[in-house]
Amino acid sequence: MKRKLVAAAGMMTLTVTLSACGDDGSSGAGGGGSSDSITVWLMDGSAPEAWVSELNAAFEAEHGVTVNVEVQQWDGIQDRVTTALSEDGTVDVLEIGNTQTVGYANTGGLADLGDFADEPWNEAMLSSARVDDTLYAVPWYGANRVVVYDRSIWEEAGAEVPTTRDEWIEALEAIEANTDAEPIYLPGQSYYVLGGFIADEGGNFAVEDGDGWAGALDTRAGEAGMDFYAQLQSFSNSPTDNDEASPQQSTEVVPNGEVASWIGLGWEAAGAVAAIEEQGGEADFGYFPIPGKTADQLGHVFLGGSNLAVSERAGNPELANEWLRMATSQEWAQRYVDANSGGVVPNRTDVTAEPEAGTFAEAMVRSADVGFLPPLTTGWANVETEPNPIKELMTKALNGEDYSGAAQEADAEITARINRE
């Protein structure tokens, strides 16, 4: 008995130590940038494995160097990127989320990519990669969220795919009344989903105010957006103090319970399908864009996506540029879109995405036109660090605190952070 206990304690210690290493290890491990290799940081879920290995094989054949791809988790990525950019030769090419690129460009850590300026980039994506007409990154892909639903549960409940918010609520009510399933899984702090609802009202997280920016949550738009979020969230069993990554909704929540619908990105939907199949089940997912207030206007969605940048301190800037040029060339960009089955918004105007009917990609592309971006200013990245004031506000509002008072506090924090460089 005691031996078992000792063994269990030992195992746990080991796991904890290992997972702790896993967190840090990735940042120091590669140390690439010598003459015969370059190091590329890509985010979890960004690049299909086949595409990466084919691309790197082609690159290695052409230039005779090894490409070390290190996959990074989104959680805590800002610390790692900051550290990597401050060190010599840690990383050559790196993927940076489109809301954070401007912030890093301002630190002087990203190389000027003027040579790439004349490519036919997607204009909307380009705005997140440029500061004062200097290009610090190139667009790689765009993505936005759609509603993923379990077809068989919806059929059992007699729920219809909605085209307006009211129909959406009716469908969720039908599922609640007619099945045992959770009508929608919506964690309390999915703040980009909330951002879409605020954008539906014509608002945003922050607005320009004189020379600087100011938080804009204590507004009519902010409150109306939060009201609708709360209405949806009341159909979920999720706690109010977690976001979609804790627990990971796609792999930890959806496959382990009867979830009738959830709001997610393409890589999350793919992850959920894989997790369900691993358990011996079969995913029966349908997809629809987030409905708007009326049938002729889809709901706003956050235009997520990533850019690729070269570190100013890259060990091998020429090869880094060459890799970037190849990865974002028309040929490889098209292959990237194809490898994602059209599930991404292409970065170049000469690349086309032709998603099949009924797929995630089709639903996503439909709402790509009604995208919104958070304020593209250098200080926005500060707002997104934990503890994130928007997330704290959402939990308070969902727990029944007075919205306006909590929103004023959040606005004060946003204003303080967003005007910091």
């Binding site: 304690a9 904890v16 301002n106 630190t107 002087g108 706690p239 660090t385 503890p387 308070k396 460089e421």
Partner: protein, 328 residues
Amino acid sequence: MTVDIEQAPPAPPRGTPPGGRVGRAAGGWRPSARWVPYLLIAPAVLAMLAVLGYALVRNLLISFQAFGRRQLISRTTEWTGLDNYRAVLENDRFWDSLVRTVLFMAANVVLIMLIGTLVGLLLNQLGRRMRLVLSISLVAAWAMPVIASTTVFRWLFDTQFGVANWAMRGLGFDGYEQHNWFGSGTSTLVIVTVLIVWASVPFVALNLYAGLTTIGGEIYEAARMDGASGWRVFWSIVAPIMRPFFLITTFLEIIWVFKAFVQIYALNGGGPDRESETLPVMAYIEGMGQNQYGTGAAISVLTLLILLVAMSFYFRLILRQERENETA
């Protein structure tokens, strides 16, 4: 809170003559021997200077700079004098955290000393077999790595799957269906307190027991003969003899709890809404979390100063005691 047993000097029983005098009388005085103690201590001092001293000086320098993400990446130095300190001292959050830290520390130290003393006395009274069982459980709690025990506690009090909620329901309490134990700062800190007290009691208890074994049985016997109650024996015999032990242990616990970071941060990240933030956690969140390294450094320097002031009382006590010993 990483602590090494070596850090805690064993409580010296009073009557022993200071070690130096014995050595000198036995070995005789040789000039070359003068440097031996310094040579022996040199590696430890050098290692400490390299690891701690350097970091301390750097931290102090950074606290006088505007040091954020841009300065880190572009490697520029911008001296701003006392700006960081001014900003921190004008920040209500700092004062809230300070009050919270002091209250949290006080509650923890009182509980640790109280329970630790009781368990130590119990160890002294138990028979051999039960004492062994208790000692092993104490050592196990003491030896448990902090992150491991924190992870276990996180799950014990989990909203959906936690044992705590299950137990409360089983005992017939209402409202523990999905009760969120980490829903408020106070509730979070109470759980941290349970965790820290659980992990710190063994140190006090085992050391007290070690000290108690040096008290001869005849003193107790004599006291009993005079009709002293257990209460009286403790206050008139154990407490005075063990006074140096209680002093040093209390002050060590004050230091350890004051700078407790992992337990608080790993349990709930100082949340919800920064309501369980103590000074070390605040320094980390402002500094590392939000890339304001200058501000974080200023907070940690202030934390250090506060601790030094608290510790000065301890040093004064020690000095006074040594003077008393010399005159006695």
